[in-house]
């Protein structure tokens, strides 16, 4: 019930928002802000109720939706979705607050779409019925299309269409695979077919067919993530979207791709995932390095941050593909971290854009003298994105690299190069924008952060420090879910010869390792 409330209150709020007359200027944003606070506050009882450290799905609910086809409203959360729900509610509230001054046209519709988007995002994370999941997954698409297309900048129309086509293409194929699995489930498990995803997990699929199904299924998530070479929609969408859109795109929508990969792909197609993981790993690492290199040469700040996302998401996926607890946990923690720090960086960029209406790096310089508070926040998030110890980014990256190390030293070295490049482009960016003399006259008059902006950034900064210094609660929350994923994948690991030679951290799974330890 709690989950349902959290998910659907934004939808109800969005419907009510439409009833607020257009003449009441300024009321819409406050109304939307108020609505978005409700799920955020409801997360507190959720945090109390949630049984930390216990595996399986909690807070579950089941209502029959379309009985004749076995489609249910089946929801439930584990550690991963729990964390992502909290992240979503926080970031939505923040992005609504961040739009107060930057959105001046068609306010009512803008906040309507934001609230609709929130329902879509939350629904994606709670759905356990594949059909329900798909509905929410598509529900995320439409509001974001409008947010980019109507309120975006510059090439917004091209960006929105590109975003729409790419993601819709992926999900169309995913839908077919879902149907196929549905019929397989009906054949194999007999009786009443349903879209319950655990039914799909229980299937035994022929490895040959499994590979094809996997390709159709995973493409939707890889595009959303996005993995190199499916990333080309991202720089456009992120750059041209309004600040709130960029924050939610980077913070939540990209995560939904990883989430889908973890939640559905791995349990349903374990053998195919293993078979494809060399390919995926290669692409992920290419993404890490390519994203970082391209980010380095960007002249537009927002584009730079967008490309840094490509790099970070590649790193995150590489961690998961290490197939050990550290790597997967690191990957999930990095999901949260990336949501916070990149989201915050987009906010930072949006704030300077509101003042100067340009995002060219060369237009700035010496801002730290004019806007000290702004510069401080920028530094915190920049360092968090780089992965400085003591800030959140470090925890995730450390775990990922640790996990990768247990998998293959070759990939670890390449991934670590990405970290160094990441530090390079971020520090260089900061240096060019913040230090030195004030070169452009217009920058002398810039006002520092106002109270609203300060309070938007403050909670994110606090979270960055909290996770950085004291990651234990987060890790504890995620551990059962991460273990579950490892359990899904480990029985299949030894089946692939290319992996058999790699020492696995969890010793009792690989017979070859057991033999070696016996010798000792």
């Amino acid at each position: 019930m709690l989950l349902t409330l959290i998910t659907f209150i934004p939808l109800i709020g969005a419907a009510l928002l439409l009833c607020v007359p257009r003449s009441m200027e300024g009321a819409h944003k406050w109304f939307a802000f108020g609505v978005s606070l409700v799920p955020l506050i409801l997360c507190i009882p959720l945090m109390i109720v949630f049984p930390y450290g216990e595996p399986g799905f909690h807070c579950a609910a089941l209502v029959s939706w379309i009985p004749s086809f076995g489609i249910d409203y089946r929801i439930g959360i584990d550690g991963i979705s729990f964390v992502l729900i909290i992240l979503t509610t926080i970031l939505t509230t923040i992005s609504i607050a961040a739009s107060f001054e930057s959105i001046k046209e068609k306010e009512k519709e803008f906040y309507f779409f934001l609230l609709l988007l929130e329902t879509g995002m939350l629904g994606t994370f709670i759905a356990l019925d594949m059909f329900l999941f798909f509905v929410f997954w598509e529900l995320m698409l439409v509001p974001m299309y409008f947010i980019i297309g109507v309120w975006g900048h510059g090439e917004r129309i091209y960006a929105s269409i590109k975003f729409f086509l790419y993601t819709a293409f992926g999900s169309a194929l995913m839908l077919l695979v879902i149907f196929y699995l549905y019929f397989e489930a009906a054949n194999q498990l007999g009786a009443s077919p349903s879209f319950h995803f655990e039914n799909f997990v229980a299937l035994t699929l022929d490895p040959g067919i499994q590979k094809w199904l996997f390709v159709g299924f995973v493409l939707a998530f890889l595009i959303k993530m996005p993995l190199f070479p499916f990333h080309t929609w991202l720089p456009y969408a992120h750059t041209e979207a309004p600040t709130a859109g960029s924050v939610l795109l980077a913070g939540i929508l990209l995560k939904s791709g990883v989430y889908g990969f973890l939640r559905f792909c791995i349990p349903i197609f374990p053998q195919a995932v293993i078979a494809f993981s060399p390919v995926l790993m290669t692409l992920a690492i290419i993404g890490v390095i390519y994203g970082a290199m391209v980010a380095m040469v960007q002249r537009d700040v927002k584009r730079l941050v967008a490309y840094s996302s490509v790099s970070h998401m590649g790193m995150l996926l590489a961690g998961i593909l290490a197939w050990n607890l550290q790597g997967i946990e690191g990957g999930i923690i990095q999901m949260v971290n990336h949501g916070l720090s990149t989201g915050a960086l987009f906010l930072i960029v949006g704030m300077i854009y509101d003042r100067r209406h340009t995002r060219e790096v060369s237009e700035f310089g010496g801002l730290s003298k004019v806007m000290p508070v702004y510069a401080t926040f920028f530094m915190i998030f920049m360092l968090s994105s780089i992965g400085l110890p003591g800030l959140n980014g470090f925890v995730g990256e450390f775990l990922i690299l640790l996990g990768l190390m247990g998998h293959s030293i070759f990939w670890t070295i390449l991934a670590a190069t990405g970290v160094i490049l990441g530090a390079a482009y971020m520090l260089w960016l900061y240096q060019r924008m913040m230090f030195g003399e004030v070169k452009v006259e217009a920058n002398r008059e810039l006002k520092d952060l106002n109270r609203r902006e300060f309070h938007i950034l403050l909670p994110i900064a606090i979270f960055c420090f909290l996770i950085g210094v004291f990651p234990y609660p987060l890790q504890k929350t995620l551990e059962p879910a991460a273990k579950q994923i490892v359990e899904y994948i480990q029985p299949h690991l030894t089946a692939e010869p290319w992996l058999a030679s790699i020492p696995l951290p969890n010793e009792n799974t690989s017979p070859s390792i057991n033999n070696e330890s016996n010798h000792e």
């Binding site: 086809f69 598509e138 439409v142 109507v150 917004r156 077919l176």
Partner: protein, 495 residues
């Protein structure tokens, strides 16, 4: 059943007949000048009454009427409801449309109602002569209505093209029917089946020729590739309410004809239940041939739509693509496929009529049916823009609209029939269609308008638009009732 007893199953058609007479009568007194459109009112009332009266049919068991000329089964009851609902909507559209306001309305409505009777008969005919007569009744009416705006050149052109294409293809089809008669010596469906079941081997080639020849006529009606060339021109030239009627009701007739004719002559219901098989020893690869046509139809329809700037032409190509989607369900020859087709037709009715209503509003208020008319529509009339968006999303097949559920059923049927390649073609086509539908959405919401002047929508149109769009959303979320209805209606009479 005898002729007199059968009349009780014929009430909708009888009501329509009476309505036609009243419309002509009302028109004679020229009462439509000035005030209320009396012939229109009579036609509307008649079709609504007929629609209500057809509900009774669902409770009656399947039976033969008029000495076996016509069948009453759930399939025919469904299509009567489909055509009548379509007629009601189109009558309402016509009553307030500026395009046809200066024309002789009385003739217009009486022809519209006659077409509707013809369509109802196509869906229930059990005899080759009957089905051909019914088909001609509706076709001739359609030719006239397509050219109804006599003074406009392209309307004339539309009508002429329609007649020429229609004449040739129905002629070819008639040749197929006569071959069928020559082969079996009977025009009655059940007798034809009897003969074919006990026929000797070696009639494959004849059967295949019959199949092809009849397919020409049917393919023309549903605008399937390669018989689709008339559709864009005719759709563009006809008065918009008629275009709406052609795109929904006429396409529906094509499918009714296809299913009725093939499923009860050359095919027979398998004793195992759940699917149809070829009669006797005939061996034509039905599924494959229809599937290829389906794949071609949707691909060419979607590719053709991409470059269109005229909304009516664009919707014509989108209609061709949808004929392809619907054929996916037909070619399977299964119950599930038939249910999916029926489900999709209902969804298509609401969605497409609503989309055409938006075009009518565009044409009426600014005499513009191109992309320019919808540019910046959101600022000028938000309700219409939102309604159009919902329709377009439903045509694409995005949740939570009914179009998604319709596609869902079609793909489910395909996967169940193990026709994977067609499912993949269908999905890829959906993505292609996304592009041109999204172009309209883009124009409505993102692009600047040439004038900020708000558009005033006639209250009747606003009400009608709402009434059409609400089901699109409702069936997108709670479609169990509609699915059950489709399942109930997907039953043809068996001998």
């Amino acid at each position: 059943m005898g002729n007199v007893e059968s009349l009780s199953y014929f009430v909708p058609e009888l009501i329509l007949t009476v309505a036609i007479l009243i419309v002509l009568f009302a028109d004679m007194f020229g009462m439509e000048r000035g005030g209320f459109d009396l012939p229109g009112g009579a036609a509307l009332l008649g079709s609504i009454l007929a629609l209500i009266s057809h509900v009774w049919l669902y409770s009656q068991p399947a039976t033969m009427l008029f000495e076996g000329m016509i069948a009453h089964d759930m399939f025919s009851a469904f299509f009567r409801g489909f055509f009548l609902l379509c007629t009601v909507v189109v009558t309402l559209m016509t009553m307030y449309s500026m395009e046809v306001i200066h024309l002789k309305k009385g003739e217009f409505y009486s022809i519209l109602l006659s077409i509707c009777i013809g369509m109802c008969l196509v869906a229930s005919a059990q005899n080759l002569i009957m089905i051909y007569l019914a088909l001609e009744l509706m076709s001739l009416g359609s030719y006239i209505l397509a050219g109804f705006s006599r003074r406009i050149g392209r309307s004339e052109e539309a009508s002429l093209k329609f007649v020429l294409y229609g004449g040739v293809s129905t002629g070819v089809m008639l040749f197929g029917l006569s071959l069928l008669y020559g082969l079996t010596g009977s025009t009655d469906f059940s007798a034809i089946q009897q003969v074919l079941i006990s026929s000797e081997k070696g009639i494959d080639l004849t059967a295949f020729t019959i199949f092809l020849l009849i397919l020409v006529g049917v393919g023309y009606k549903i605008a399937a590739v390669p018989f689709h060339f008339w559709a864009p021109d005719v759709y563009e030239g006809s008065p918009t309410p008629i275009t709406a009627f052609l795109s929904v009701a006429s396409k529906g007739t094509g499918f009714a004809l296809l299913i009725r004719l093939f499923y009860s002559t050359l095919l027979t219901r398998s004793p195992a239940g759940g699917f149809w098989v070829e009669v006797g020893d005939i061996d034509i690869d039905w599924t494959f041939h229809l599937a290829v046509i389906s794949a071609l139809t949707m691909t060419i329809g979607n590719l053709g739509a991409i470059s269109q700037n005229n909304l009516k032409r664009l919707l014509a190509y989108s209609g061709i693509a949808h004929a392809g989607y619907l054929l996916m369900g037909v070619c399977l020859l299964t119950d599930v496929g038939l249910q999916a087709v029926i489900f999709y037709l209902v969804v298509y009715l609401f969605t497409n009529l609503a989309a055409f209503l938006v075009v009518i509003i565009m044409v009426d208020t600014q005499d513009e049916e191109g992309m320019n008319g919808v540019r910046g529509l959101w600022a000028r009339t938000p309700i219409v823009a939102v309604a159009m968006t919902i329709c377009l999303f439903s045509l694409i097949g995005l949740p939570p609209t009914a179009g998604f559920v319709g596609k869902y059923y079609l793909f489910v049927a395909l996967l169940q029939g193990k026709l994977y390649w067609l499912a993949i073609v269908g999905v890829l086509n959906t993505v292609v269609s996304l592009y041109y539908y999204a172009r309209i959405v883009k124009a409505m919401f993102f692009e600047p308008t040439y004038t900020e002047e708000p558009i005033r929508v006639h209250p009747v149109y606003a009400g009608l638009l709402t009434a059409l769009v609400v089901p699109v959303l409702y069936f997108g979320i709670f479609w169990d009732s509609l699915a059950r209805y489709a399942r109930y209606c997907a039953s043809l009479i068996t001998y």
